[in-house]
């Protein structure tokens, strides 16, 4: 048997783990954290201003036009939804596969999922011409007859998929946190702190009977989340695949989108972890270089999948013999937006190939840069799909161009502010590593392991 390297460094005991992780919520973080938070909130204010202006004056402030009816909002929506996939994947799929290394990154990855989905969820609402009536997409009983929704529309599927996903992943995240919240509650010195965390922990007592049900539910949620996470990005891909538009109307989209989502999600986890390891040094013991390397391997593998999908699209376009398809793919690579295509290919296919080398897989600055490139590439993948397909479709007379405005940039970059604000607040107030899940794997791979049967 291959000897494993330890999952957790620093010769921890159960008590020091509790102190490390619960302690994060108990003392003020250092200046670096607040600097990061201030930056994130600055961006968030930009987001609010940009979106506020758009809601007040109209969608026309953005670059969207006719024929390019979807722009930054939808691209960024798909981007964030994609980001949101890694969390559930790590917590659910790796859980089902009994991957012990998932334990220390699962919580943050799930949090990332929840916040990414929250960020993403704003965009479909805000991209509508009349966001104040966006609730009409929900099939709620009403006095109009009643008038329901069009269940044939991928956007309604989206509403169901994204809201189900948001609900289930939030519940999954929260249920996972309940024992840890109880731990924090029990450590609390302050009355109000005890009450608040007591409330959040639902009064969890940690008896064997409860743990029995708890583990079962956790596994069930993991089992339910796995098809769910696959379905969500498949359904998001249906937004495009169900349309008649050349470049959208393709059957490869669901797996292609899911692979892309995992790809970008893991890249975002690497980005976040690289940052958090710096901002909160204690993470270095829990999120080790081995964790990072594992994720980098997944990034490389999914990068290859994505690259395969890019090639396959071209082949099928040629093989189909449909003139519109052939044109749209040539136009993607060599048309006026060809630069975006090559950014996408470079960032998503070529750059991750560096992870074939152990050096890059285990070097934090390098992987940070590469993961950023992957994120950029994946944003551009959605850009390529959305813009290049729309800007030149069937009738050449209606061809046009899409040019972003300052509001597009505000919405895009501002959304990072929203996301990072939420994430940094989460790091501060909630147990950022799953205490109750890390403890059982404490001795995995330890040389001096007396508890060898673990």
């Amino acid at each position: 048997m291959i000897r494993r390297s330890p999952l957790i460094l620093g010769k921890k005991t159960y008590e020091t783990i509790t102190n490390d992780i619960a302690g994060l919520t108990e003392k003020l973080p250092d200046a670096r954290y607040f600097a990061g938070l201030a930056g994130a909130q600055g961006l968030m204010i930009i987001f609010l201003l940009a979106q506020g202006a758009i809601v007040w004056w109209g969608m026309g402030l953005m670059g969207v036009n006719h024929p390019v009816g979807w722009g930054t909002d939808i691209i960024t929506f798909v981007f964030w939804i994609g980001i949101g996939h890694a969390g559930t994947l790590i917590s659910a799929v790796l859980f089902l596969f009994r991957q012990k290394w998932r334990m220390s990154i699962a919580r943050s990855a799930e949090a990332m999922t929840v916040f990414a989905v929250m960020t993403a969820g704003l965009f479909p609402v805000l991209h509508t011409g009349r966001p104040w009536v966006a609730y009409w997409l929900l099939p709620y009983p009403n006095q109009r007859g009643p008038l329901w929704v069009n269940f044939r529309s991928p956007l309604v599927w989206d509403v169901f998929a994204v809201s189900t996903y948001a609900t289930v992943s939030a519940v999954f995240w929260y249920i996972g946190m309940v024992p840890d919240l109880a731990t924090i509650r029990d450590r609390a010195q302050n009355k109000w702190r005890k009450r608040i965390y007591g409330l959040l922990s639902l009064g969890w007592r940690g008896t064997a009977r409860n743990w029995n049900h708890y583990e079962m539910v956790y596994m069930l949620l993991a089992g339910l989340s796995t098809p769910l996470v696959l379905s969500v990005h498949s359904i998001v891909s249906f937004d495009f695949a169900v349309a008649v538009l050349p470049g959208w109307h393709t059957t490869i989209f669901p797996p292609y989108f899911v692979a892309g989502a995992i790809f970008s999600g893991f890249a975002m986890v690497v980005t976040l972890m690289a940052i958090i390891r710096e901002l909160v040094p204690v993470f270095k013991d829990y999120v080790t270089m081995d964790h990072m390397e594992n994720m980098n391997k997944i990034i490389m593998a999914t990068g290859l999948l994505v690259g395969y999908a890019y090639g396959s699209e071209f082949f099928i376009a040629w093989y189909s013999g449909v003139e519109y398809e052939v044109f749209i793919f040539k136009n993607r690579a060599f048309g006026p937006y060809g630069w975006s295509y090559w950014i996408m290919v470079t960032c998503n296919v070529f750059i991750p190939q560096l992870f074939w080398f152990r050096y890059f897989r285990r070097n934090i600055p390098w992987m940070f840069v590469i993961s950023i490139f992957v994120n950029i590439g994946m944003w551009f993948e959605r850009f390529v799909i959305t813009i290049t397909s729309l800007h030149r479709d069937f009738l050449p007379s209606s061809w046009g161009m899409w040019v972003p405005t300052i509001y597009d940039f505000g919405a895009l970059f501002g959304s990072f502010g929203l996301f990072f604000t939420l994430f940094l607040l989460y790091i501060r107030v909630l147990p950022a590593i799953s205490i109750s899940e890390v403890k059982p794997v404490l001795y995995v791979g330890r040389e001096e392991d007396q508890h060898g049967h673990h």
């Binding site: 024929p67 991209h127 069009n150 956007l155 030149r392």
Partner: protein, 1068 residues
């Protein structure tokens, strides 16, 4: 005593004794005077705004008094005394007349609750038979133009007429001043072609009474045409053309389908010759410099420079008379001698005119040669017309395709007026209906000459270039507020009747004339007996209609005429005429031009610029360039390469010492060495919409021999570094080998109509829905559609479609529900052009419906694709998924139109909010309205009961609409005809709109049938797009090379005239 007590001064501060005494006259005067303060300069606007404010106040008061009510409380204000024929909620239609330049057509004005909301064609009027031009539709917004004068004005001029102080005048004061002035004699009345016999009579009476003279000036002049008619036939008329009888029409720099003389009538006639699309379908051969609407519809098109226009006619004559000796003139030595002087024209042109001559001769008596127009009105303008007259005579067309017409001469030419002005022979000048200060070439020195006049009175409706120099503006009614009559070129007499109470304190010019006559105690008995212009008109018609009333007495007859709008039996040729001999003797060869030649032209939407302040027309894409909101210099692709000029780059055009700067537009198909500039821009006083757009092309025009020369002027082009982006609605101009517009040659078409259409075998996994009641459908005949854009404006007017402005068009946000796609086929240098109107296809398997999350777009059980604005959330997914891209999104709130434009809104159509999608509805409100009326009256719907706005307006009858479930309906037949095909058929969306193939009366198309993929045809990728929007891609990229001349073709000389000399380096 009472007096004093009632005039007790109030405690308020006072300015003068009059005010202190509250002298009523002073009060009204003060009130009006202060309305000229800058705060209320647009007094009508201010007034309306004030009323709006009061309304708002009322609403908010009402809101507060019903605090528990959660909606804005609304008021119902019924009529105090309701007119009998108005039923609230039902439209009333009034027959009236519309004059636009030389064209006079009959209109029906739709009014709702006493306000006109739309102008439609009068089907009973022989000139247009219900069809309309885009400009005629737009006249409604001229009525509601916020920039209109709302009262008569007085300009306080200094000696040089540069003072711009404008104060409100009162009619009484104005009348007094004018009558006094008129008493001095030396009156000149400058009028446009108003087309009204009775107005003309009144004018003559008026001029006679004051010892004055009538002069005529039209902003777009047909002086050379009329002059040549006089020279050739002895009568100064515009002839009556019967284009429908011609098997071949040759147009030489003549845009008869777009702007020349009477395009609505001509389009209708032309379409009659095209509709057959079998043996005997007419052929259109065009020789032209710019790419006009007519040229874009040509079967065969040759590119010439403006100065070569005469050469074309003479070369044809030379070929027919001298070479072939076909005509009886072959024995006329004088003629032969003149023609021999043009024996080299053919070589100079580099065009095989023999082919055209042969076809013309083959169809003699059934052919028609139309020459000239603004873009060929050079110093050779009259000669060109004379030669064309002679060619028509050689072809024996007189009395057949071309008949004696009616005089449009309303007075002496403006040249005479200029002379008289310069000689200070005129003390009072009255200008009616034209804007000579704007539209006369600068070197005519008209503006300067005006300082020789004591008093100028204009009748314009705004502070335009001419009105600014006037002393008084006796603001005329809009035609929809006024009585009148009209005679079309064909002779039909029609009536013009008011459809609304005058909106402002304006007065009909005719009433002004009557008032001034009476003021001076002059005028005929009729004038004296007429209390108003209406009485005068009525009395005149008593005379005019003598013998035509049939069994009716005059009062009944008059009511009858008011209902139909037209005097029956007044239409028809005005008699016969014969060609004067020796006219050709004066035709001298045109002098050769060095460098670029200027060609000023009219745009189909803007025309003579009278309606240029209507945003609809500014936003109507030019049928050929697809540019709107802009004036630009058109240059040919080859010249653009040579001069290194990019689309949108500014160029400086210089003629003599006159310069203008305009952005360049590279126009495929334009002759090399020619620069085209549209007329009607560069306004200063046209109104808030038009002012500041482009430059005035007439700056470059020259005043030669009492005529404006607008073409063939030597011009230098200097590229500037400044750039702009033209507002284009279509950025890509080739079909990329896709089956979009299917063209067939006439021969192919007769063998197998629709044979070139690639049809698909389509299957579906679903069974189709059954439509049991009506199933609405439409067929658009691409063969008769000329692309004029009348339907676009008709739709805009009918459906409350906003204009969004230049910036939004550049951003790709125009709102027109109907657009006309224009594609170039062939090389950029010499392409064929096809037009394709595109509207919502109302697909049975509509992709837009599937993707709408909230059921805001859905099919009705009558086969229409409905758009429910109030349900729309605005995801724009439907637009993305529409293969035809016919959906329009309200990117901003476009509902706040400047008052009183909102009065033109159609109450039957919801005004759309910001953030909702909209699109063509198949005029569902008309379907609903007609069906409701049938239901109420227990009658059955018949074919043709429902007409869409576009169909109704189309001058060439290209659109058929109706019930596809009615097997006998016209649309069913057209829909199923082999000529018809569904656009993007292979998507199986099953559109309810089908197209019929375009037939070109030629031997070989510029391109192979659309669907056969051309091996190796590049797909237009790779070229660098512009930074923004769709303004780029000016050239048809990647079209296959033009076909080699087939074996059957006679060897042809190269098409291209030698490239023009590039201006010397120093010019750069």
């Amino acid at each position: 005593m009472d007096q004093t007590s009632s005039n007790k001064p109030s405690g308020k501060p006072w300015l003068s004794l009059e005010q202190w005494r509250q002298d009523p006259e002073f009060l009204t005067f003060a009130e009006k005077e202060f309305r000229t303060s800058p705060l209320q300069s647009g007094d009508g606007v201010g007034g309306t705004a004030r009323r709006d404010f009061l309304k708002l106040m009322g609403a908010s008061l009402a809101l507060t008094s019903f605090g528990c009510v959660r909606r804005p409380a609304q008021k119902i204000i019924p009529y105090a005394k309701k007119p009998q024929d108005i039923v609230h909620g039902l439209p009333n239609y009034y027959a009236s007349s519309f004059v636009d330049g030389m064209e006079a057509i009959g209109i029906l004005v739709t009014t709702r609750d006493g306000r006109p909301i739309k102008i439609e064609g009068n089907p009973d009027h022989p000139a247009n038979m219900g069809s309309m031009s885009s400009r005629a539709h737009a006249d409604i917004l001229r009525l509601y133009d916020p920039d209109r004068y709302t009262a008569p004005k007085r300009n306080l001029q200094n000696k040089n007429r540069t003072n711009r102080e404008i104060i409100n005048a009162r009619w009484e004061d104005l009348d007094k001043a004018v009558t006094e002035q008129l008493g001095k004699g030396k009156v000149a009345l400058l009028t446009h072609n108003h087309s009204s016999p009775t107005t003309q009579a009144l004018m003559e009476e008026f001029a006679g009474a004051f010892g004055g003279k009538i002069y005529q000036y039209d902003d777009v002049s047909y002086a050379s045409l009329v002059e040549a008619q006089k020279a050739s036939y002895g009568s100064a008329t515009i002839p009556n053309y019967n284009i429908d009888r011609a098997k071949i029409v040759v147009a030489i720099n003549n845009d008869f389908l777009g702007t020349w003389v009477a395009p609505v009538t001509f389009q209708r006639q032309f379409a009659m010759g095209r509709k057959k699309s079998t043996e005997g379908m007419s052929k259109l051969v065009v020789f032209e410099s710019l790419m006009s609407l007519t040229g874009s519809n040509a079967d065969k098109r040759y590119r010439i420079r403006p100065s070569q226009s005469l050469d074309v006619v003479m070369a044809l004559l030379h070929e027919l008379v001298v070479v072939r000796k076909s005509s009886r003139y072959a024995s006329d030595d004088g003629v032969v001698r003149v023609l021999s002087g043009f024996s080299k024209s053919r070589e100079d042109l580099g065009i095989n005119v023999g082919e055209v001559a042969e076809e013309l001769w083959k169809n003699k008596g059934q052919s028609l040669v139309l020459a000239g127009g603004m873009s060929a009105d050079g110093d050779f303008g009259v000669a060109l017309q004379v030669a064309a007259n002679f060619l028509n005579a050689v072809l024996e067309n007189d009395g057949k395709t071309i008949e004696t017409g009616r005089s449009v001469t309303r007075g002496a030419p403006i040249g005479d007026l200029l002379n008289a002005l310069n000689k200070k022979e005129i003390t009072t000048l009255i200008v009616h209906g034209s804007n000579p200060v704007y539209s006369l070439p600068e070197n005519s020195k008209f503006r300067e000459a005006l300082s020789n006049v004591e008093m100028i009175i204009t009748t314009g409706d705004r502070n335009d270039e001419t009105a600014r120099l006037a002393d008084y503006v006796a603001t005329d009614h809009h035609a929809l507020e006024n009585w009148g009559d009209m005679q079309s070129l064909g002779g039909a007499l029609s009536i013009q009747q008011p459809t609304i109470q005058p909106l402002h304190n304006t007065r009909a010019f005719q009433d002004s004339m009557l008032a001034w006559l009476k003021g001076a105690g002059k005028g005929s008995a009729k004038a004296k007996a007429s209390e108003t212009w209406y009485d005068y008109l009525n009395a005149s018609w008593k005379t005019l209609s003598a013998g035509k009333t049939g069994k009716l007495n005059f009062e009944d007859y008059w009511n009858d005429v008011l209902q139909t709008g037209v005097m029956q039996g007044s239409n028809g040729a005005a008699g016969s005429r014969s060609l004067a001999s020796g006219t050709l003797a004066n035709v001298k060869p045109t002098a050769k031009r060095a460098g670029f030649e200027l060609a000023i032209y009219q745009k189909v939407g803007i025309g003579d610029g009278r309606l240029a302040n209507v945003p609809w027309l500014q936003e109507l894409p030019d049928p050929v360039t697809k540019v709107c909101w802009d004036n630009y210099a058109c240059i040919s692709p080859k010249d653009s390469v040579q001069l290194k000029i990019k689309e949108g780059q500014y160029v400086q055009l210089t003629v003599g010492d006159k310069k203008i700067e305009l952005p360049a537009h590279i126009q495929p198909g334009q002759a090399d060495g020619v620069v085209g500039v549209a007329f009607g821009y560069g306004r200063n006083g046209g109104g808030s919409v038009v002012d500041g757009i482009g430059a005035n092309a007439m700056t470059l025009a020259q005043w030669v021999d009492g005529r404006a020369v607008t073409a063939g002027l030597e011009t230098t082009i200097k590229p500037l570094t400044k750039k702009t982006e033209l507002a284009v609605t279509q950025g890509h101009h080739v079909m990329e080998g896709r089956q979009i517009v299917v063209e067939e040659t006439l021969a192919d078409h007769m063998k197998d109509p629709g044979g070139q259409v690639h049809r698909h075998n389509l299957t579906t996994m679903w069974s189709e829905h059954k439509y049991n009641g009506n199933k609405w459908g439409m067929v658009v005949d691409l063969n008769t559609c000329t692309g004029c854009g009348s339907c676009v404006i008709a739709c805009q007017s009918e459906n409350n479609i906003p204009s969004v402005g230049r910036k939004n068009v550049i951003d790709g946000r125009e709102m027109q529900w109907m657009r006309i796609d224009r594609y170039y086929v062939g090389t950029p240098e010499d392409p064929d052009v096809v037009h394709q109107p595109l509207l919502c296809m109302h697909c049975d398997n509509a992709p837009c419906e599937t993707v709408c999350p909230v059921i805001a777009t859905v099919h009705s059980d009558e086969g229409t694709n409905d758009m429910i604005y109030n349900r729309c959330v605005g995801t724009r997914y439907c637009s993305n998924n529409c293969p035809y891209k016919v959906r329009r999104f309200n990117w901003f709130s476009y509902t706040d139109v400047k008052a009183p434009r909102q009065m033109a809104l159609n109450p039957e159509v919801t005004v759309r909010n910001r953030g909702v999608m909209e699109k063509c509805t198949f005029c569902i409100h008309r379907i609903r309205g007609v069906k409701a009326q049938h239901k109420v009256h227990d009658t059955k719907l018949r074919d043709g009961d429902v007409k869409t706005a576009c169909q109704q307006s189309c001058p060439s009858n290209a659109i058929t609409f109706g019930d596809l479930n009615d097997t006998k309906s016209m649309v069913r037949g057209e829909f199923d005809s082999p000529k018809a095909y569904a656009l993007l058929d292979e998507l199986n969306v099953k559109p309810s709109v089908r197209y019929q193939v375009k037939v070109r009366n030629t031997d070989k198309l510029k391109w192979a049938p659309a669907h056969e993929p051309v091996p190796g045809a590049p797909h237009g990728q790779g070229h660098k797009p512009p930074a923004h929007g769709r303004a780029g891609e000016p050239l048809p990229h990647g079209g296959p090379p033009p076909p080699d001349a087939g074996p059957g073709h006679p060897p042809m000389p190269p098409h291209d005239p030698p490239p023009p000399p590039v201006p010397a380096e120093g010019g750069h």
